[in-house]
Amino acid sequence: MKYRIVHTTNYEYESTISVSHNRVILTPRDGAWVRSLWHRLTVHPAPQWSVKRNDVFGNLVHVFGIEEGHSQLTVTAASQVEVRGQVLLAQVDSPAWESLVADPTVRLNGDHSDLEVVPFRFRSPRIEPGEKFAEYGRASFAVGRPILQAAAALNAQIYHDFKYDKDSTDAQTPIEKAFELKRGVCQDFAQIQVAVLRSLGLAARYVSGYLRTLPPPGKERLVGADQSHAWVSLYCGRELGWVDLDATNNTFCGLDHIPIAWGRDYSDVIPFRGVFLGDGRHKLEVSVDVCPME
C-alpha cells in the first residue's frame, strides 16, 4: 500500500516573535515493513539555519532557527511511503513470553545485538515501571503463554478497560493518572502499555506515526481530517524482532499504520518542540492528510 501524507502545523502568534528555535520529528522512517519513498519538509518563513540528523534511536530530526520577526510559522511535512504490513502475526507461533524477560540488573553475556533492545527495558522520563503495572498485565500474560498471544490479549484488555476520552488527559498527563482514570487517548494507552510490558520484564518502545482513517460508509474522504497516532512495539525475540501493536484499535499494526519515530516514550519522539522569544499567546492548527496513492 502506498500513501501520500501531508502533515501541516501552523502557529499564529498574537504578537511578533523575534526568534524561535525548533526541533521537529516529522519524517516517516523505514522499518521492517515500511519504506519511505520521498519526503520534504517545508518551513515558512524560511529558517536562517537548519540541521538534519538522526537521533540515537535512528529517528530523523530536523532542527531549525528562525531569527527574523515573524507572526506565523508553518511547517509542512510531505511524504510518500510504502507499507507492506506485518506478517499475519495472529497465526504465528511464538516463544513463551518468559523466555524474553531479562533481569535488567544483570550484565549482558556477550550477546551484542541485545544493545538494540536494552534501552527499552528501563524506566524513562514518562514511564516508571512498577508492580501495579505488572499486576495489571498478568491477566494477559499467563504463565507459559506464547508472547504474541499474550501481547494480543493485553491489547484487547486495554482496549476494553480504557475509555477513549479526549478531554480527560492532555499531553502532560502522567500515565499514572490515565491508568487510574482508565481514560485517555492513544498516547496514554501506548505509554501505559509500554509501562505494563516493561514492568513484566519485557522490552517495549513507544511509536509515533500516522493512521489512515476510513470515511464512514457512503461518505467522501475528508482531506486533512486524519490524525497522528501512537502505538507500541514489543520485542519478541531474535526471530520475530519488534512487533507493533495498536491498543487504541485493538489490533496488530497493519497496512494503515505508518511509523514516524520510536523512542522510550512520548518525550523521545515529540513531533514539535520549540522555544520562542516573545509574548506567549498563540493559536495552533494541525492537519494531517493520509491519502492512498493507488
Binding site: H21, T105, H229, N250, F272, V275
Partner: protein, 848 residues
C-alpha cells in the same frame, strides 16, 4: 621569649591515624617547620592572626551572604589557619592515584556514550547507564573527537587507621572547591610565611595556567584568543561565590543562563553592544539544565545549545553526561574496568561497595548492616549516607524494607574511617577528622594533579560525609617540594601581543540591569534615611505641631518610608506612637519602598555583581547590612539612637558614592549605576518638592528649612541668603541651580549626559526616545523661572505642581524606555504548548 608547646594538650583517640603525629606521638618530619612556627608565635599571636584572617575573608566578601534568610547560599565553612601538610613523596603517590582515576572515568564516559564495549563485554550491566535518572539519549554523539569529557575531575579522600587512602566519592560534573583552594592559600600563606617558605610549598598558579591553556586550546577553529565564559547557576546557588571568584581570577566573563542565546547555530552572549560569540563554556550548571529543547528536564537552559555542541561551534567543560560516573554504584565494577582498560590495579580504590541488586551482596549487606553506610546507587544531588549502626531497631527495619523493595536503587559502602589533623580552637590545637579533596586537570596532552587541595574538617567525622560541602571548617593543603617553587603570576600572562581594550559594550545586559537598579536602590535608601533623620530631629523638638507643620511626615509616607496611616489628622495624639513607630519603620520588611527593602535590594543586586564591585564597595555594603540587621521589637533603637544610626548610615552611603565616583572606571556599568541614581534622585526630589511646596501653609519658614536640610542644601543656602528663608530662593537652589549636586536641574543634566553615551544602533539616524525625553526634561526646567513657579493661587502653586507632575511622569517613562531598550534584553523564553492535538487519534471505524 617564653615559648609554649601548643600541642601539649593533644589527646588522640587510640587506633586512629593522625596526619601530624605518628603512632608514638612524635611529630612527623615534614610537619616540623610548621610546628615550630606555631609554637614560636604562641597562642595570643596566633589568635590575633586568626582574627586578621577572618577580617580578610570578610573583605573578600566571602562571608557575605546575600540570602541570609534562605539556606545554603553562604560560604559553607569557616576558615582554619592550620594547613594540612603532605610531603613531595606522599603527594606524588596521591597524584598518581588521582590521575589514574581521572583517566579511568574519562575512558568510561567515552565508552558509555560511544562504542559501549563495557556493556557488550558484560563488565558493566546496561542498568548502570539506562536506569540512571540523569541519563539522556541526547548525550550520545555530543563529544568532539579529542575533547575530553573531564577537563576537571575531583575525588574525595579519607585515610583509614592504617594510613591507607580511600576514595569516598568522585566528582565529574563541575567539581566544587577550586575557588576556595585559591582563597585559602592566599590567606594561609601570609599567616605563616616562615613555615610556608621552610616547607617549600608548591604553588597553585601553574595548575590554573594549565587550566587556562586547556580552555583556550578547547576553543573551536583554533581561535587563539577565545571568549571563555563561566556559566553560573546564579547568586542563589551554593557555588556562586566560587564561580565569581574563579571568573575574576582567570579573567573570564561570568554569565547566567539568561545572558546566553543561540543564533545561527552559534552560542552568543547578550551584551549592550549586541550579541558576542562564545567559544568556550565552562559550565557550573547541571547537565540536564543545559538545553530545554533537547533535554528532558524542562528547567531552563539555552535553547539550541546541544545542536551548537554537535556542530562543534562551542566547547563545553565538562562534557554533558559527565555526572553519570559520579554514581556510587560504579565502584562495584571499577577494579574490573581498570583492568579492562589496562590501567592496572587502582592506586586509590573506592571504599568496598556492594550493590544490593546482587543477591550475594544483598545477603552480605544484611548480615553486616552495622559495618556499612547505605547510599543511593545513582547520585543526582547531595544525599547524605545512612548509618544503620546509629539507627534504632525500628528505623533499621524500615530501611531493610526499603532496600528489599528496591534493591537495585541502593549500594552499601564500607564505613568511612578518617584520619585526624590539627585544628586551631582559639587557645590550643585540637585534632579533628579530615576529608581531603584533590583536583585533576584533564587535557588532550594528559592529566595533571593540583599541587594542593581542599581540606574539610569537623569535630564529628560523620559531618564530613553528608555532602562535599559539609564540615565546619576548611584548611589549606600544603604540598612540600624538594626545592622552593619559583613564584609565578596568577591567571594568564602570555608573551604574545594583546589587543588593548577600553570600556566595552560587551557588558551583559543583565549586569547593566543590576547596576541600574543598584543605583536606584542605593539612592532610594539614602533619600529615605535623610528624610527620616529630619523627621526624628523634629520629633525631638518639643514645639507643638512642628512635625505636622513641616510636612516631612507626609513626604515620608509619600516616598513609602512609613505606613500612610501614621499621618492621619489629629497628630497630637499619635505623637507617642510616632516615637516608637518611626524608628521601627527603618527595619520594617513590610514597606516595599522602605529603607530596609531598598537595602535588601542593594544587597541582592550587589551579590549578583560580586565579580564587578571592588572589595571596598563590598565592605561598605556589608557594614550597612550589619548596622541594619533585623532585630526583635524589644531591641529597637529609641529616637536618639536611631538618629545616631542614621548619621552613621548616611555617611557610609556617602562613602559608597565616593568610591563609586573615584574608583570605578567609566565603563557602561558605571554609567548605568549612575543613571539609576540620578533618575531615582530626580524622581524623589521632584515628588518631595511637590509635597513640600505644592501648597503653602503657616509654617512656611519651617518647611523651607526642612526641605533644604533633607536635600543637604542648607549650608549653601545660608551662605547665599543668610537667615532669610524665602521660597523663591529655595526653589531656585533646589530645582534650577545646575551647580547644586542635589538640585533637580543637576540630575537632569547628568541624565542627559549619560543617556547620550548609551550605545546606539549605528544604522539608526534619528534621535532615540530616551534622548528626546532627557533633553525635554532638562529644557522644561530651564525654561521656567522660580518666581513664576512660586506664584500662589489660593494656597496652591499650580505652575509648580504642573511642572513637577510632568517631570515625574517623564522620569518614569525614561526609566521604562531605558529598561526596555537596554536592560530587559532578555524577554522570557516560552515553550510551545505540547501538542496533544497531534497525538490523539480516534478509534478508526473499521476495527469496531
Amino acid at each position: 621569649m617564653q615559648t609554649r608547646n601548643l600541642f601539649e594538650y593533644v589527646t588522640r583517640p587510640e587506633g586512629s591515624y593522625d596526619e601530624m603525629f605518628d603512632a608514638e606521638g612524635h611529630v612527623r618530619e615534614n610537619w616540623r617547620p610548621l610546628q615550630s612556627e606555631l609554637n614560636r608565635l604562641g597562642p595570643l599571636e596566633l589568635q590575633r592572626r586568626m582574627q586578621q584572617a577572618d577580617e580578610q575573608i570578610a573583605n573578600h566578601g566571602v562571608t557575605f551572604n546575600p540570602y541570609d534568610l534562605s539556606e545554603g547560599a553562604s560560604r559553607p565553612w569557616s576558615f582554619d589557619a592550620v594547613p594540612v601538610l603532605y610531603s613531595a613523596e606522599q603527594w606524588r603517590d596521591i597524584g598518581a592515584g588521582l590521575e589514574q582515576r581521572a583517566r579511568l572515568m574519562e575512558l568510561i564516559l567515552q565508552d558509555l556514550f560511544g562504542p559501549q564495549d563495557l556493556l557488550k563485554s558484560g563488565i558493566v550491566p546496561p542498568y548502570f547507564l539506562y536506569a540512571h535518572p540523569g541519563y539522556q539519549p541526547a548525550y550520545h554523539g555530543l563529544a568532539r573527537p579529542g575533547q575530553p569529557y573531564l577537563t576537571l575531575y575531583a575525588a574525595d579522600l579519607a585515610r583509614d587507621s592504617s594510613g591507607k587512602l580511600w576514595v569516598t566519592g568522585d566528582r565529574t560534573r563541575a567539581p566544587f572547591g577550586l575557588g576556595y583552594v585559591l582563597e585559602n592559600r592566599l590567606i594561609a600563606a601570609n599567616l605563616f610565611l616562615d613555615a610556608f617558605q621552610a616547607c617549600r610549598v608548591q604553588r597553585l598558579a601553574s595548575f590554573f595556567q594549565a587550566l587556562h591553556r586547556t580552555l583556550v586550546a578547547a576553543a573551536p577553529q583554533g581561535n587563539a584568543n577565545p571568549h571563555i565564559v563561566v556559566w553560573t547557576k546564579g547568586p542563589g546557588s551554593r557555588s556562586f561565590f566560587e564561580d565569581a571568584y574563579l571568573a575574576r581570577y582567570l579573567g573570564y566573563t561570568l554569565v547566567q543562563t539568561d545572558d546566553l542565546a543561540v543564533r545561527n547555530n552559534q552560542l552568543m552572549l547578550k551584551t549592550l553592544g549586541g550579541l558576542l560569540p562564545v567559544d568556550v563554556l565552562w559550565r557550573r550548571v547541571n547537565d540536564e539544565n543545559c538545553d530545554p529543547v533537547e533535554l528532558h528536564s524542562r528547567t531552563g537552559g539555552v535553547a539550541g545549545l546541544l545542536e551548537v555542541l554537535r556542530s562543534g561551534n562551542v566547547a563545553i567543560v565538562n562534557g554533558l553526561g559527565s555526572r553519570l560516573v559520579e554514581s556510587p554504584l560504579l565502584a562495584v565494577w571499577l577494579p574490573r574496568i581498570a583492568e579492562y582498560f589496562s590501567l592496572g590495579p587502582l592506586r586509590l580504590p573506592t571504599k568496598p561497595t556492594w550493590w544490593c541488586a546482587d543477591e550475594n551482596s544483598f545477603h552480605w549487606v544484611m548480615a553486616h548492616l552495622n559495618e556499612v553506610v547505605i547510599l543511593p546507587a545513582f547520585r543526582m544531588g547531595n544525599v547524605a549516607p545512612l548509618y544503620p549502626a546509629d539507627m534504632s531497631q525500628a528505623e533499621k527495619q524500615a530501611l531493610v524494607h526499603r532496600i528489599r523493595s528496591q534493591p537495585a536503587a541502593f549500594v552499601a559502602q564500607q564505613k568511612i574511617e578518617r584520619s585526624t589533623t590539627p585544628v586551631w580552637n582559639g587557645d590550643h590545637v585540637k585534632h579533628w577528622p579530615l576529608a581531603l579533596r584533590g583536583f585533576v586537570l584533564g587535557s588532550e596532552g594528559g592529566h595533571r594533579t593540583l599541587q594542593g587541595g581542599l581540606a574539610r574538617v569537623a569535630w564529628k567525622p560523620q559531618n564530613l560525609d553528608q555532602s562535599p560541602t559539609s564540615g565546619e571548617k576548611c584548611q589549606d593543603v600544603w604540598i612540600q617540594g624538594h626545592r622552593s617553587a619559583p613564584p609565578t603570576d596568577a591567571a594568564s600572562s602570555t608573551a604574545g601581543p594583546i589587543t588593548l581594550k577600553r570600556s566595552g559594550t560587551e557588558l551583559p545586559s543583565r549586569v547593566a540591569d543590576s547596576f541600574f537598579w543598584l543605583g536606584r536602590n542605593i539612592e532610594r535608601a539614602e533619600f529615605g534615611a535623610r528624610l527620616m533623620r529630619i523627621a526624628l530631629q523634629l520629633l525631638l523638638n518639643e514645639r507643638e505641631g512642628i512635625l505636622e507643620g513641616s510636612r516631612v511626615l507626609r513626604a515620608l509616607a509619600e516616598s513609602g518610608q512609613i505606613e500612610p496611616d501614621l499621618i492621619v489628622p489629629g497628630m497630637k495624639e499619635t505623637l507617642p506612637v510616632l516615637t516608637s513607630s518611626l524608628p521601627r519603620s527603618l527595619f520594617s520588611d513590610d514597606l516595599p519602598m522602605g529603607f530596609r527593602s531598598s537595602l535588601d535590594h542593594v544587597i541582592r543586586l550587589s551579590a549578583g555583581l560580586r565579580d564587578r564591585l571592588s572589595t571596598d564597595s563590598w565592605r561598605i555594603i556589608n557594614r550597612m547590612d550589619a548596622l541594619c540587621a533585623r532585630r526583635p521589637a524589644s531591641d529597637l533603637p529609641d529616637v536618639a539612637d536611631a538618629t545616631e544610626l542614621l548619621d552613621m548610615l548616611i555617611s557610609i552611603m556617602s562613602a559608597f558614592s565616593g568610591f563609586v565616583a573615584e574608583n570605578t572606571t567609566r565603563t557602561l556599568g558605571w554609567r548605568f549605576l549612575d543613571l539609576g541614581r540620578r533618575i531615582e534622585r530626580a524622581q524623589q526630589t521632584v515628588s518631595f518638592l511637590e509635597v513640600m511646596f505644592g501648597q503653602t501653609n503657616q509654617f512656611g519658614g519651617l518647611v523651607i528649612e526642612s526641605a533644604l536640610q533633607v536635600l543637604d542644601s542648607l549650608m549653601t543656602y545660608r551662605l547665599r541668603y543668610l537667615t532669610t528663608l524665602h521660597p523663591v530662593a529655595a526653589c531656585d537652589l533646589l530645582l534650577h541651580d545646575q551647580s547644586n549636586p542635589r538640585s533637580v536641574a543637576y540630575q537632569l543634566d547628568m541624565i542627559e549626559l549619560h543617556v547620550s553615551h548609551l550605545p546606539s544602533d549605528p544604522q539608526q539616524a534619528e534621535i532615540r526616545v530616551d534622548q528626546r525625553l532627557a533633553v525635554a526634561m532638562k529644557h522644561s526646567v530651564r525654561m521656567t523661572s522660580p518666581e513664576k513657579l512660586m506664584v500662589t493661587d489660593d494656597d496652591q502653586r499650580p505652575e509648580l505642581q504642573q511642572l513637577l507632575q510632568r517631570l515625574n511622569d517623564q522620569l518614569s517613562e525614561l526609566s521604562q524606555t531605558v529598561s526596555s531598550r537596554y536592560l530587559v534584553h532578555a524577554p522570557l523564553q516560552r515553550h510551545f504548548a505540547s501538542l496533544l492535538a497531534q497525538h490523539d487519534s480516534p478509534r478508526s471505524d473499521k476495527s469496531e
